[in-house]
């Protein structure tokens, strides 16, 4: 899960800036993680200490001059480098006060950007595509600079990396609707050109971000139709000349009107990206949102509404996002957690701040003493729709938690039907709302308890025991009124079978009814003396255990040959084949020793498990056998039809 923390304003922006012009040229890292260099759109360069929200130094160009490229810090010398009026290079130190008096060099061509690298000479990217190292440029400022780009080709974005002590510069250009990507390597000086291809009429890339990982640059590109594409740029392309770079769709943002005009994208850690200018869901019409998305599963992880209009640009530096909105530059610290199984299963405690909408709901119920009817009324339409976003799921958990709080505080308050509906969504888990099941038990609501047992994947052992105890001690008379479905208990649907079958043994009729209130649908329970406590709880408990078992073992045997990953049976086939054919070789190979031992350990534990399963199978097999044996004796007469 990613989180966005409460932000703060770093500085105001120059007045009179229109929405199209954010008023900032760029934000570059300063001498440590707490310092940034903010280059205004006009003449000013300011260094801030972020944690103090305080400027440490500010320099401004002369009236009539304009800084044209974001100032950067030369990591090796501690000097700042900036360009004004496209061609005039300025270099200064912290102690320099007068910008007019600092080092000045006039270049022969217009500069697009300067890129600083922590342990290397800064790179100067000229507007016509040439690249120079700063020291080489300073040695002869008036040196001729070649034109790399063709006429009308404009640099839209650039970024630089350091790979194996070698600086690399990646920049994208646009020429009459077509997009190109250049990868410039220095020493040796190699330039690769790629064609990104266009995305149809009127759709253009509006934001880029790139990361370098494992000798491969991952470029993410946000298009105006809301699609985020991923392009992999190899550092060692094998082919000469212009190449077409294939792109894969990473996710599609919910763009309500179909076109984004301005938005920005920034790459964060652990497969997260931040996007400003596009809402987390289509229903949230306004676009002034900063959102963190996970790219593996295109889901919004955290979002923040930014009043005053925010659609970029967006910078990211040292765990903080810098975004301009309204007339301020806001700093938003964020955290991207590594995705873990626990988090995916909802077992990690959620402390984040997502779901403002639901929070509002929750506050409403938690604080105000609304009646049960009111709650039902409010929630009914909400639960009737079935959105599948994770936010909805989290929202459900919030609602459940708040309702629980309310129930615990007010013994008279017990919105049974709402709780049942919540449980039936199948999106709650024990960890997301602990106490839910216990509440049901406290209230002797066996119907709800059964629902919980059927839908919660992660009930701890202690709670199951408590359930069992409660079930065993329940009086028959109590049960007479409860709509515990005994018929359906034996029919267990594994969770992996299909998504539609989440009723887990409940008759669909019961589900389709609008209300599952105890009073409204008293089941036709045959309360004959044959019903013992055990006959009620045992199948239910077994059903739950089976549900857990099937869940944990996955649908090993129901899977079709995998499209993405091989199935268990395929893996077993391969392992068997390999061991069978090359066992001798493996035994003799020293490098395989550890692997084989490890495999053996795992297989041994599996065999132990399966021997237990064998016992269960043996027990159950006898059932089938008894039936069969009765049917076929030594002689029988049957009718068959062959067709």
């Amino acid at each position: 899960m990613a989180e966005l923390y409460e932000g703060f304003t770093l500085c105001g922006l120059a007045a009179g800036q229109s929405r199209e012009n954010s008023g900032l040229l760029g934000i570059e890292p300063g001498r440590d993680t707490d310092h940034v260099i903010v280059t205004g759109a006009g003449r000013t360069v300011t260094v801030y200490k972020v944690s103090d929200q305080k400027p440490l130094g500010s320099w401004a160009a002369k009236q009539g001059q304009a800084v044209t490229c974001p100032a950067v810090l030369h990591g090796q010398t501690g000097e700042y480098v900036a360009v004004h009026d496209s061609k005039v290079l300025r270099i200064w130190r912290d102690e320099d006060i007068n910008f007019e008096k600092v080092f000045k060099a006039t270049l022969s061509a217009a500069v697009s950007r300067i890129h600083a690298l922590p342990s290397s000479e800064p790179l100067v990217l000229f507007q016509r595509g040439a690249v120079r190292q700063l020291d080489a440029l300073l040695a002869a400022p008036q040196q001729a600079v070649e034109e790399v780009l063709s006429e009308e080709e404009v640099i839209r974005w650039s970024s630089c990396f350091l790979e194996a002590e070698q600086p690399l510069l990646l920049f994208s250009t646009e020429k009459s609707g077509e997009c190109f990507l250049y990868l410039q390597k220095l020493s040796p000086n190699v330039l690769h050109k790629y064609n990104i291809g266009s995305e149809g009429k009127g759709v253009c890339p509006i934001g880029f971000t790139a990361t370098l990982e494992d000798k491969c640059i991952t470029l993410m590109c946000l298009y105006s139709n809301g699609c985020v594409y991923k392009l992999l740029v190899s550092l060692h392309p094998s082919v000469e000349g212009e190449q077409h770079l294939p792109k894969s769709l990473l996710m599609k943002l919910p763009v309500s009107e179909g076109v984004l005009h301005r938005a920005a994208i920034a790459c964060l850690e652990e497969g997260h990206i931040a996007i400003v200018g596009a809402p987390p869901s289509a229903s949230t019409g306004d676009r002034d949102f900063l959102c963190i998305w996970k790219t593996n599963f295109p889901t919004p992880q955290a979002s923040k509404e930014l009043p005053g209009g925010a659609d970029g640009p967006l910078w990211c530096n040292a765990g903080k996002l810098y975004v301009t909105h309204g007339k301020v530059l806001t700093v938003l610290p964020y955290r991207c957690e590594k995705s873990s199984l626990a988090a995916a299963l909802g077992k990690l405690k959620q402390t984040s701040t997502q779901g403002d909408v639901y929070k509002a709901f929750c506050l409403y119920w938690g604080c105000v003493g609304v009646s049960r009817e009111e709650v039902e009324e409010v929630l009914e339409p909400f639960l009737s729709c079935s959105p599948v976003s994770p936010q909805f799921q989290l929202g459900l958990a919030h609602i459940a938690v708040e309702l629980l709080k309310r129930c615990q505080a007010d013994p008279g308050f017990y919105p049974q039907s709402v709780l049942a509906r919540l449980a039936q969504t199948g999106r709650l888990s024990h960890s997301s709302c602990p106490g839910f099941l216990m509440l049901a038990l406290e209230k002797h609501d066996y119907f709800l308890a059964q629902l919980c047992l059927q839908h919660f994947p992660d009930i701890p052992e202690a709670v199951i025991c408590a359930c069992l105890k409660a079930f065993l001690s329940v009086a028959d008379a109590d049960l007479a009124q409860v709509s515990v479905d005994l018929e359906g208990v034996s029919l267990v649907d594994g969770p992996g079978q299909s998504l539609e079958v989440v009723q887990n043994g409940f008759s669909p009729v019961l589900l389709e009814e609008d209300s599952c209130d105890v009073q409204l649908t008293p089941p036709k329970l045959d309360q004959s003396s044959s019903w013992t406590d055990m006959s009620l709880t045992c199948p239910l408990f077994l059903q739950y255990l089976q549900y857990l078992y099937v869940r944990s073992s996955g649908d090993v045997y129901t899977q079709l040959p995998g499209l993405r990953a091989p199935t268990m049976t395929q893996i077993m086939d391969w392992v068997s084949l390999l061991l069978d054919a090359h066992f001798a070789v493996l035994v003799m190979a020293p490098e395989a020793k550890g692997l084989l031992a490890q495999l053996h350990r795992f297989v041994r534990s599996q065999v132990r498990l399966y021997s237990e399963l064998g016992k269960i199978q043996g027990t159950l097999q006898e059932l089938g056998k008894i039936k069969k044996e009765q049917e076929i004796g030594l002689y029988s007469i049957e009718v068959i039809e062959l067709f």
Binding site: M588, K615, Q617, L634, Y635, E638, V639, F643
Partner: protein, 662 residues
């Protein structure tokens, strides 16, 4: 195509005998296997592992060791103290010879195949010289006389079993002077024969190591244990590129539930057999080059021939056991049912007769006439014919005492369709035609095999399959040289020979109306030969082109019986161990490629299934394992099943009790 009422018969108590020992002849690619009842079987590994020959057992013969000499000489030795050489054409002992050392426990032949050594109960080893047509005693190596040059004392088992004596069940001597021993403490040990020292001990079982086998090039040893496992050792170098090699335990197979009494290794597979009666051919995947029939695990459980004969009209079944025949009358019902139903049995099946054989020799073939009035069986020493009178509940059986003198022993017996003649395939490769009637049995004619001009004269093999036409005009015979001869019974002369196909015929039958001969071979091929036209029929050619065998190739067992449906003359019914199928010759074969349906649940026939009706091949695998399938009158089928669990339940308890539930 059809609804059938099925007699589902499970009362044939067929019990195969346990496997005692085996020997693989790599030159001939054949495996010889001896069972506990003294019978010997020969499997042709290059012909789909077909059970080519069966030499029936004998009560007084108990085989402990089996040995090939050359390509075609087979010897056994056993606890009766005798060495037997077999006549592999006539399928009977050629001669027996007493070794005069008491029961013989083990036998070995030297690699030059000049001498035999027999290990006898009295502790002596008898050496015999192998001569072209016999073996001759040469010398006696007595334990007491100090011949031994090296004495190795095998240690007792691990702690806890030290008070038990250790019995060495098996030794193998490798050409590099390594001795391999397998003993009752579960050890496989390697010894240096020169120094008499132990090289390595492998503990492979908690129980006995009962059998050992060394591969031909001495790079692999397999050992069978009484736990039912087979363990392989391979001679490998510990490091790649190292020239020094050592024996490393590699694979463990577990295909048996009981003692593995015999193991051997072919080029591509480990072959094992034991008390659980099944022969297991387990492919070594690293030796199998292409995926073929060689790469499939095979279990041979039932003989590759029919042990059941059926008298269709009176609904009688004759079961052949080694020591007796059983005659049963099938039951009946009054009710009619829908497909998928079981009908109430209103008349129970009845065992009419249990006929014990005379003498020590086991029954090798038997038959019942179509009318049910005649039963014949043969052992290697005699043929017996019985007349059966069955009116109401009185059954009387009379042995026909005066049989023609020419009848001595038969490899196959068959009555004509009208039950007036008995055809006897003799051990001399001739076929005697005997007319049978209440008054007398007369020798009518003897068909001599028409030898192929390409084969040297006198090489004709005995006949193992006979088929007679319904109109009484034709008789066909198939022999183990894959020759199929057609004889004209009216003219009493040889009619023609079916072109020789290089796989043994496993079953054949003559169509009652068209007189076309249908033959299935051990390699699952099927041919139809027009007897009158003396050529393959169009259907047969089409079948070869379209390839019915593609569907059938999955099953490793050969077809053992073919019959026709008198109600629907185009239907052929044939079966193997796992299924029976009906082939409709009137339907196009092209459907076979596209569709192949197994019919586990034959009951649901909706309109959408209609195209299936045009499928020429209908398969039923509801009943298995099958010993026999036949079609009686009025759409009655009889299937004889022998559930493996019934066989297992008759086996002694295995040494290691299997875990509950498995």
């Amino acid at each position: 195509m059809g609804e059938f009422k099925v007699h589902r018969v499970r009362f044939f108590d067929f019990m195969p005998s346990g496997i005692r020992c085996m020997a693989f002849n790599s030159k001939a690619d054949r495996l010889a296997l001896a069972r506990l009842d003294g019978s010997v079987e020969i499997f042709n590994f290059s012909n789909n592992y077909f059970q080519e020959k069966v030499i029936p057992g004998n009560d007084s013969r108990s085989i402990e060791a089996i040995c090939w000499v050359g390509c075609d000489r087979l010897f056994t030795a056993g606890l009766n103290g005798e060495v037997v050489e077999y006549d592999l054409e006539r399928l009977c002992p050629k001669y027996t010879l007493d070794a005069f050392g008491g029961p013989i426990w083990t036998a070995a032949c030297n690699s030059e195949e000049t001498h035999f050594a027999f290990g006898c109960e009295d502790g002596s080893v008898k050496l015999f010289e192998i001569l072209p047509d016999k073996i001759q005693f040469e010398r006696n190596l007595d334990r007491q006389k100090g011949h031994s040059v090296q004495r190795i004392l095998v240690d007792r088992g691990p702690a806890g079993t030290r008070n038990k004596d250790c019995v060495v069940w098996n030794v193998a001597f490798l050409s590099d002077y390594t001795i391999v021993s397998g003993d009752s403490a579960g050890k496989v040990q390697l010894w240096d024969a020169n120094k008499g020292t132990l090289i390595k001990t492998h503990l492979v079982s908690k129980w006995d190591v009962l059998s050992l086998s060394v591969s031909e090039n001495e790079d692999s040893i397999v050992a069978g244990t009484s736990e039912g496992t087979v363990v392989q050792f391979q001679l490998l170098s510990p490091k790649i590129g190292d020239t020094e090699t050592q024996w490393v335990r590699t694979r463990t197979f577990k295909h048996h539930t009981h003692d593995v009494r015999a193991v051997t290794e072919t080029r591509t597979a480990v072959v094992s057999g034991g008390l659980d009666t099944q022969l297991v051919i387990c492919p070594l995947m690293d030796k199998v080059e292409v995926k073929s029939s060689e790469s499939v695990l095979r279990k041979v459980i039932f003989p590759h021939r029919s042990l059941v004969s059926c008298a269709k009209k009176p609904s009688l079944l004759l079961f052949q056991f080694p020591d007796q025949l059983e005659l049963w009358r099938l039951g009946g019902t009054d009710t009619i049912g829908k497909p998928g139903e079981s009908l109430p049995v209103t008349r129970k099946p009845e065992k009419l007769l249990q006929l014990k054989r005379k003498g020590d020799d086991h029954i090798c073939c038997s038959t019942i006439s179509e009318c049910g009035h005649w039963i014949a069986y043969s052992t290697v020493s005699s043929i017996r014919l019985y007349q059966l009178q069955c009116d109401n509940n009185n059954i009387s059986i009379t042995k026909v005492s005066k049989l023609p003198k020419v009848l001595r022993s038969a490899h196959q017996l068959q009555f004509s369709a009208d039950s007036s003649k008995l055809f006897v395939a003799s051990e001399q490769a001739t076929i005697h035609v005997i007319s049978v009637s209440r008054s007398e049995c007369k020798h009518v004619h003897t068909f001599k095999p028409k030898s192929d001009v390409f084969l040297p004269t006198g090489s004709s093999a005995p006949v193992h399959l006979l088929a007679a036409s319904a109109d009484g005009q034709w008789l066909t015979s198939a022999n183990r040289h894959c020759e199929i001869n057609v004889y004209n019974l009216k003219k009493l002369k040889h009619h023609c020979m079916v072109p020789v196909y290089n796989s043994l015929p496993s079953a054949m039958a003559i169509h009652p109306e068209t007189n076309n001969l249908l033959v299935t071979h051990a390699d699952q091929q099927m041919f139809e030969f027009g007897i009158v036209d003396k050529q393959y029929t169009d259907w047969s050619r089409k079948l070869q082109k379209e390839g019915l065998h593609r569907c059938r190739l999955k099953w490793g067992t050969p077809v053992t019986h073919i019959t026709f449906n008198p109600q629907a003359p185009s239907q052929v019914i044939l079966h193997d161990m796992h299924m029976f199928c009906i082939i409709d010759q009137s339907l196009p074969l092209d459907g076979l490629k596209a569709q192949f349906y197994s019919q586990l649940t034959p009951k649901d026939t909706s309109e959408t299934d209609k195209p299936r009706k045009n499928n020429a091949l209908k398969i039923c695998n509801k009943y298995q394992p099958l010993l026999h399938v036949n079609l009686l009158e009025d759409d009655w089928l009889v299937v004889v099943e022998r559930p493996l669990i019934d066989i297992h339940s008759q086996l002694p308890a295995p040494v290691r009790q299997k875990k509950f539930g498995t």
